[in-house]
Amino acid sequence: MTGLVRRYGVWIAFAAVMALLPTGITSSFAMSIASQIGVAMVFALAYNMLLGQGGMLSFGHAIFFGLSGYFTVHYINLIGEEAVPYFPISLVPLFGGIAGLFFGILVGYVSTRRAGTVFAMISLGFAEMVTALTLILSAFFHGEEGVQTDRWVGPEPFGITFGPDIQVYYLIAVWTFVSVIAMYFLTRTPFGRMSNAVRDNPERVEFIGYNTQRVRWLAFSLSSFFAGIAGALHALLFEHVGFETVSLQQSGLVLYTTYIGGIGHFVGPILGAVLITILNGMLSNLTEAWFLYLGVMFVAVVMFAPGGLAGLVMMHEPVWKADPRLMKRLVPSYAASLASTAIAAFGIVGLVEIIYFHSTALETTQGMTLFTVPVDPASAIPWLLCGATAVVGIAACRMSYPVARRAWDRVVLEARSRMMR
């Protein structure tokens, strides 16, 4: 029993959190966010099969996400018109996955001959082509409007109609759980290991006798399969698919989600999906500048923490294993760094919001509120206050970061010497 818990404890906890989450949620908005997190998780993990595990940077992975969404809504509409035999709605994501797989096999065949920049550019080319096609093939894509659907079709087994939000949430939760487990165990198979090997040293893999293109192609196709599942879940959740789901922006969003979460660890994209989806849901209503903050966050991660959030957390694992008490020594300097970062961010965000207010002032006539405090954007006081906060925060960052770095170095040395003993 204890062995079972130790072995599968993480998965049991994961399932428990997803199963119990709706009991803590009262608003339909939060429920929608919870469902979106599931979709983002599957998509980001699928994307990381390429970027993190296979070393292929794609700028067009959303085409599988979006195309499978289009196929899903058309399929549900056909079920509604009784033009095709009934297929249970709860299994429709599998159909979406197969649609993704089909296009993944096609596109992957031509694009996986080489990794690196060539692969990235081919993926960009395909992304642009598919986006342009959504406007040309209007009978299928319906141009800029997109395609509507109604997931409430067919028989209702056990009274499940997928009308209420909570039923859709559980549908997405189950598919997310199954997909996450499947993708995790894929990384443990010989194929998963070969995918890592092709990422790290393709030349050597060829000498051992593997065909690197085959391995990449397989990884690409499987990744498209899971992206397709995510696309179908997305379509079921919103009951609408538009051309933006195949666009470069959507591909960029999954890239940001995955990379900010961390591409080096399996848990990274999960963290990223939770964080970015919640921030996106909350901030995109509050501020016009949310995408600016997202972009700055991404650039900062690329420059200073290429392991992403998961990398930052997992960096501490050896220290924790050596002696958990050592972590205590890091707390003060980390707290100081975090506090000064927060102050700097507070000031800069304030400045950005005032500038934004001025550049869009023609459209909005109502007064401006900054951090729930009503301010007068025309006067100099908010400028000075925010500017001063930003300067103080940046100065504090410059002082506290080196301290945190030294504390970290000392702790690592200490942990190392304890391991030696």
């Binding site: 070393g55 940077l57 700028f59 031509v110 694009s111 001959r113 080489r114 690196g116 920049t117 060539v118 990235a120 550019m121 081919i122 960009l124 080319g125 395909f126 642009e128 082509m129 342009a132 096609l133 406007l135 040309i136 093939l137 209007s138 009978a139 299928f140 470069l248 960029g252 890239l255 940001y256 990379y259 500048a289 995408f291 600016l292 997202l294 972009g295 700055v296 991404f298 650039v299 690329v302 420059m303 290429p306 950005v352 500038i355 934004y356 550049s359 869009t360």
Partner: protein, 316 residues
């Protein structure tokens, strides 16, 4: 014939504009191995700076000042951004420039708003230069053409005839040897990056008032510039010129003529009125509709069949 001449003229013009972006990008790419995603963003910055500066001191100072400003920004980006990321490899550099392009677009929206700004052709050049075969050719477009041609010649001369150009060319292929000879290669990289950005900004100053100055202009033009440098071949200025002209002319001819595919399909006995749905979309396509797809089709085909491009000496 007059329509053909007119669309050829516009095609050459668009091609020269593309060349101003692609020449800098191809140098940067072949020298540092960085595919600069943000290159078109510097083009956009050039247009916006020109709009802002010309509103204060007029068009002619803006033509000089805006590219200089953008060049300085570009050099700073290389020095403080790219050089930090360099140690993590090419993928990280690519990701950095991708994120940077996104940030620049958002910043432009932050400062100038989401709608296009009224950046207009200067009055001193806003007249008809000549009329040929019944169609007017504006003086500003002629000026654009001449300026970009002059830049091409100057660039070619700079790279092949001067000492600086020789160092740059040497650093393209043998950076270690050049470094061993006592040249500061990272500084050469920084200068080339800044210079490339400034060239893109010249394109922005000249093209912004014709193409329209709006936050989406970078993302519309950026991928096409990649197509140009891949087709032309890495590090090849001549290749970039020919590919730019080719893409520009192809684009304009396809849009102005608007051939219908239904005539083509009719040769195979397909009746456009007898089909429906997606098939009808395909049969009734016009060449104007597929014009945006063509460059990317070329890009994918080129990368698969001949990754070194038309005039390149090594693979991408």
């Amino acid at each position: 014939v007059e329509i053909l001449a007119f669309s050829l003229f516009n095609g050459v013009l668009y091609g020269m504009l593309l060349f101003m972006l692609s020449s800098g990008l191809t140098l940067i790419f072949s020298m540092m191995g960085v595919l600069n995603f943000a290159h078109a963003s510097f083009f956009m910055l050039g247009a916006y700076f020109a709009y802002q500066i010309s509103a204060i001191v007029g068009f002619w100072p803006a033509l000089v000042l805006a590219p200089v400003l953008v060049g300085v920004i570009g050099a700073a980006v290389e020095r403080y951004g790219l050089r930090t990321v360099h140690k993590y490899g090419h993928v990280a550099e690519l990701l950095f420039t991708f994120g940077l392009a996104f940030v620049i677009e958002e910043l432009v929206q932050l400062v100038w708003g989401k709608t296009p700004v009224p950046y207009r052709v200067p009055d001193s050049l806003n007249f008809t230069a000549f009329t040929w075969l019944g169609l007017d050719y504006s003086a500003y477009r002629l000026f654009m053409l001449l300026t970009s041609a002059a830049i091409f010649i100057a660039l070619f001369w700079l790279l092949t005839r001067t000492r600086v150009g020789l160092i740059i060319q040497a650093a393209l292929t043998h950076p270690r040897t050049v470094e061993a000879l006592g040249h500061n290669v990272p500084r050469v990289f920084m200068m080339v990056f800044g210079f490339g950005c400034a060239l893109a900004a010249v394109g922005g100053v000249l093209g912004g008032n014709v193409l329209g100055t709006e936050p989406a202009m970078a993302i519309q033009l950026g991928p096409i510039v990649f197509v140009v440098i891949v087709i032309g071949g890495l590090g090849s200025l001549g290749g970039a010129l020919i590919a730019s002209l080719f893409i520009g002319i192809m684009n304009n001819v396809a849009i102005t003529f608007g051939w219908r595919f239904s005539e083509f399909f009719a040769m195979f006995g397909v009746d456009p009125s007898a089909v429906d749905g997606v098939v009808a979309n395909i049969v009734n396509m016009t060449s104007a509709q597929i014009a945006p797809v063509l460059p990317y089709l070329l890009l994918v085909l080129m990368l698969i069949l001949r990754p070194r491009g038309l005039f390149g000496t090594r693979d991408v």
